[in-house]
Structures are given as C-alpha cells and as structure tokens.
C-alpha cells in the first residue's frame, strides 16, 4: 500500500509555501502542531465516553462502534508482537471479548483505548507463552508516559485476496485525496494526519470553524464515494 506520509509532508510543505499572505512563518511556527504520537495519546474522548456508557447500559451496537474504531489500530500494535496474521486476528477478537466481559468494571480512570490495548498486550503475551514463544519486552511498544507508540511494521500476509483488497483500499484513498481540491486536501490532512482540532485548522487556514467542518466533511464524502464500488463488492463484511 502506498505510504501517505511522504504525500502528507509534501502537502504540509505546499501549505506553508503556497499559503496566502496571512500565513506568516511566525503564525505557522506559533501554531501548536501535534505529532502523531501526541495525537494517539489524545484520541476522541467524548465519543468514547458516550459509546462506553451506552455499552455499559447493555447496548451491543455501541460496543460495535468501539470495535469499528479500534480493531485496526489494535491489530497494528499487536503485529509488533505476533507475526502470523491469523493469530493476530484471533488475539484481536479475544481482546474485544475480554474487554466486553470486563466492561461493567471499567470505571473510566484511564482512556478506553489505553485500557483496551493493555488487555490486548496481555492477551498477546499469554498467547505467546501458550505457544511456547518468548514474549518480547513490551517497553519497546510504550513511550515514557506508558502510552503506545505508533508502528509502521506490518505482519506478513497469508491471504492474497485480503492483501489485494487492503492494497486497493489504500490506493483508492490515496488517489482520492490527491484528486481533492486543495482546500479540502489540506483540511482533511491536517485533521487526520496531524490531528489538529477544527479551531487550530481554522486558524491555520484563516477561515471560520464552520468552513473547516464543511471542508473535512466534503473531503470524506468524496473519498467515501470513490471507495463505494470497492466496498460494495465485499458488502458481506463490516468495515
């Protein structure tokens, strides 16, 4: 799958180079740009809170949305510990089942994703021990705050069809972003890659927050429409 990061760097660079007169270098430098790891440390808390509370009241569909939100991210982290694709799939599934069973005991002392990832890593460790493999030291995956570092290492694939689909989705999303009008591309990139808030993006792009909201939405809709034919071929699966 083509890596977006190079494109993002180019987009950021072009944003600074091509910015209108109001975009002074001082302005850009004074804007707090979050790194990827910072973004991971501060994910969507309000949405998680609402979903967790709904799930704790017995709503399985709310928990389903949490699954949708975190299963890929969790799989990505576990791929550092476990190489086999089917094993990762099993561990991710087991992690969510354990999390669901333990959900009544979740008090919200930590972020839901931190709690979930801790369950995931313990599940992976137990799995490796059961398989007679030595688990790697998990401090490799955590930064000094105990949060989880992003990784770009992917476990090797063993299903050609899924691998093809994964690649196709990546290419389609990448191509769709490239074809977006500049203001939509910048807005969605600052939001998704840099993790900036609407307020920060509005300040950087010198436009109202409502415009930022609309641009990000239109960018997503455009990409979603490009993905539609691809996803409808596999409409028996949940994305």
């Amino acid at each position: 799958m083509p890596r977006l990061n190079n494109n993002i760097e180019q987009t950021k660079l072009s944003l600074v180079q091509d910015r209108p007169a109001v975009y002074t270098s001082e302005h850009v430098e004074s804007t707090p740009v979050k790194s990827v790891s910072e973004k991971i440390e501060n994910p969507n808390r309000a949405l998680d809170q609402v979903l967790v509370e709904s799930a704790q009241k017995g709503d399985k569909k709310a928990f389903g949305l949490l699954v949708e939100k975190y299963h890929r991210k969790l799989g990505r982290i576990l791929a550092r510990m476990v190489r086999d694709q089917s094993e990762i799939e099993d561990i991710v599934q087991e992690t969510f089942i354990k999390a669901y069973r333990a959900l009544p005991n979740f008090r919200g002392d930590s972020a839901f994703y931190t709690w979930l990832y801790r369950i995931g890593i313990n599940t992976a460790k137990n799995h490796l021990v059961a398989m007679g493999k030595r688990p790697r030291n998990m401090t490799e995956f955590e930064n000094e705050d105990g949060e989880f570092e992003e990784t770009h290492q992917v476990a090797e694939a063993d299903n050609p069809e899924t691998t093809l689909l994964t690649k196709e989705i990546g290419i389609t999303v990448n191509t769709a972003i490239e074809s977006l009008p500049e203001e939509l591309k910048v807005a969605i990139t600052l939001r998704e890659i840099e993790g900036l808030s609407y307020e920060e993006i509005a300040e950087l792009m010198d436009c109202p927050i409502g415009t930022v909201r609309s641009r990000i939405f239109r960018a997503r809709e455009t990409i979603a429409e490009k993905l539609k034919p691809l996803l409808s071929q596999h409409n028996n699966k949940r994305w």
Binding site: A46, K60, E68, T166, V173, R238
Partner: protein, 152 residues
C-alpha cells in the same frame, strides 16, 4: 446527519450532541455504514490497515454471542434502584409491605407451635392437698364413674 457523523468522529461535538448522534447512528444502518467508512478512511490515511484486521465482522459476530453486560451505577442508592422511577406516593406502600413481611416473619418465628416441645413435664409441687382432692372429686373420670355406679 452525515456531516454530524464527520464532526462526531473528530470529537468536535459536546457530550449531549455526541450522545444524540450516537443514538441515531445505532438506529440507522446506513448511518452506521457511513461511520464505518469514515473510520476506514482515517485508518487508511494513518497507515493502519492490515490484512488481519481489515474487517470487524468476526469480532462483532463473537460479541453477538456474548450475554449482555450491564453496569449498575454505584453512585445510585439502593432505594433508587428498587423504587426505579416510581412516584413518591409509591414509597409508603412499599415500606408498609416490607414492614408487614417482617412482622409476619417475626410472628412465625416466635410462634410456640413452631418451638420444639420439651420432653419433660413440669408438675406443680406446692399445690395444697385440698385442691387436689376437690379436683379429683369433681372430675368426670372413669374412676369416679365406676365408684358412682358401684354405689348405686
């Protein structure tokens, strides 16, 4: 509504609006699919797609088989849980019923019929002889009947 989902995903809605949006997403399959597609785009942009976790279907199927987990709110008093949303006037009959059950329980426990009978019988030792003789004279026992018949 789709724009609301986009804003929700970016955590730019307050709790109340987030809660309303989540309720609508849960009810509507098409909105749920939109939420999933937006999340897929996010994961793809962050290079988080992997073959193992591309689809969530297997996990959701496994969760569907699990019994529903419900958390009781510790902050709520037990009386709130028992009374639920009953109006105030319902409280007194519930309390009266509770007291009545306690009273009946106490009565059953204290009832001498339910007590173990003693194997020994206490006999009064200091009853005057005159009382005993008078009692025997007047009592319609078989002995008195026999004596009375013989006398006739």
């Amino acid at each position: 509504m789709k724009e609301k989902i986009s804003t929700l995903l970016d955590d730019e809605l307050d709790i109340k609006s987030s809660s309303q949006a989540v309720s609508e997403i849960i009810k509507d399959k098409r909105l749920r699919e939109r939420f999933e597609t937006y999340q897929l785009i996010r994961d793809s942009m962050n290079n988080e797609l992997s073959d193992a976790t591309l689809s969530s279907q297997a996990i959701l199927d496994a969760i569907d088989k699990e019994p529903i987990q419900i958390q009781f709110n510790k902050d709520k008093k037990l009386s709130d849980v028992i009374a639920l949303s009953s109006p105030d006037w319902m409280t007194w009959p519930i309390a009266a019923s509770f007291i009545a059950v306690l009273f009946v329980g106490a009565m059953i426990t204290m009832n001498p019929l339910h007590m173990k009978s003693s194997s020994t019988v206490e006999i009064a030792q200091d009853v005057p002889n005159e009382y005993i003789e008078a009692h025997q004279m007047l009592a319609p026992t078989s002995v008195a009947f026999y004596v009375d018949k013989e006398a006739k």
